[in-house]
Symmetry: D2
Subunit: 109 residues, 4 copies
């Protein structure tokens, strides 16, 4: 794995973490919050593992790649849920998640 790919993966994870946290906050403020339940749940899980993946990579942890593999799965699940909702915060989050999933999958390979 080149230094450049490593750096890019940290950046995508952090971007995805921020997008998930924004989407989470916005979902909780939606009028029909019940409809956003699954999105809220996955946004937090995804933000948490993205943040942890960035931490693991930037401290050069022995488990960085394994975390990236799990992170890719969570990002995909979160991205697919967000895609179902028309709101701008969900669409932007879906995009960040699916990009991050791709980069994490390559990192884990």
């Amino acid at each position: 794995m080149s230094h450049e790919q490593f750096k890019q993966c940290i950046e995508e994870c952090l971007r995805c973490m921020v997008a998930c946290n924004h989407c989470y906050t916005a979902c909780l403020e939606e009028e029909d919050v019940a409809m956003m339940k699954e999105c809220i749940r996955l946004d937090r899980q995804c933000a948490d593992i993205c943040g942890f993946a960035a931490q693991a990579m930037s401290t050069n942890s022995m488990y960085a790649r394994e975390i990236c593999r799990i992170c890719a799965e969570v990002c995909e699940a979160c991205g697919n849920e967000c895609k179902k909702h028309d709101m701008k915060h969900c669409q932007e989050c879906a995009e960040a998640c699916l990009r991050c999933a791709k980069v994490c999958r390559e990192m884990a390979a």
Copy 2:
């Protein structure tokens, strides 16, 4: 601050973090999730700062006391919100929050 008070504060913060995370998860599964919005929001904020306070104290960080002072305020806000709801997870969380608030306030003093 004695070693015993320090140890106790870490334990209360971690207990409160777990209670807030349990309450958060349970609130998201309540039928009337809209009614639990504020509880969900504060549970996560409180869990996050409690975890961070425990981290700061156990690594003997220069900012441990200041984090405890903020943590006490968040625990109080979260405990007061949880107290309004009859569910067992909210009542248990309220109790953990208000105990943690007290211990953090003493630590920060």
Copy 3:
């Protein structure tokens, strides 16, 4: 996995996190810090994943078990390193790590 096993695993992870953070802080204050390098490195990695595992379990995350599986490996590596050093903080940390490794391995199974 019973509720009791789940609860116990969260508690062991948090106990191990605190032990690793204490050991880390103490190692950095040892006179021969060069000798403690690997211990410092693993203490932080282990504390980080233990904290994350507790977070994942207490929020009932989709990836909680997978994190516990990785956590077990890191705890074992950290425990084995700590065992090599005679200091009380290392011996206590080794014990916490090896207990946590066992419980996490059962959780992941």
Copy 4:
């Protein structure tokens, strides 16, 4: 505080977190690790609070500004320590810390 300033502060905190984690890892691999003790200690404390500040801001937490105020102090302490060492990782970290301190101070004001 404009949305743009908010976004910029999150980015500076995450950049600083990554720089501190890189510097931390590199310091532990320096031949004279004893000389880097204070840098290692502050790098971790700074990375931890920068990550937490980004989390607090991106979840729109009630305590985001107060964390930024503390974060500014820690970044300044870490940046001043890093400045003393000639290594590239320390110089780059110092720069990231002092920039982050400035932005966090404005956010907290």
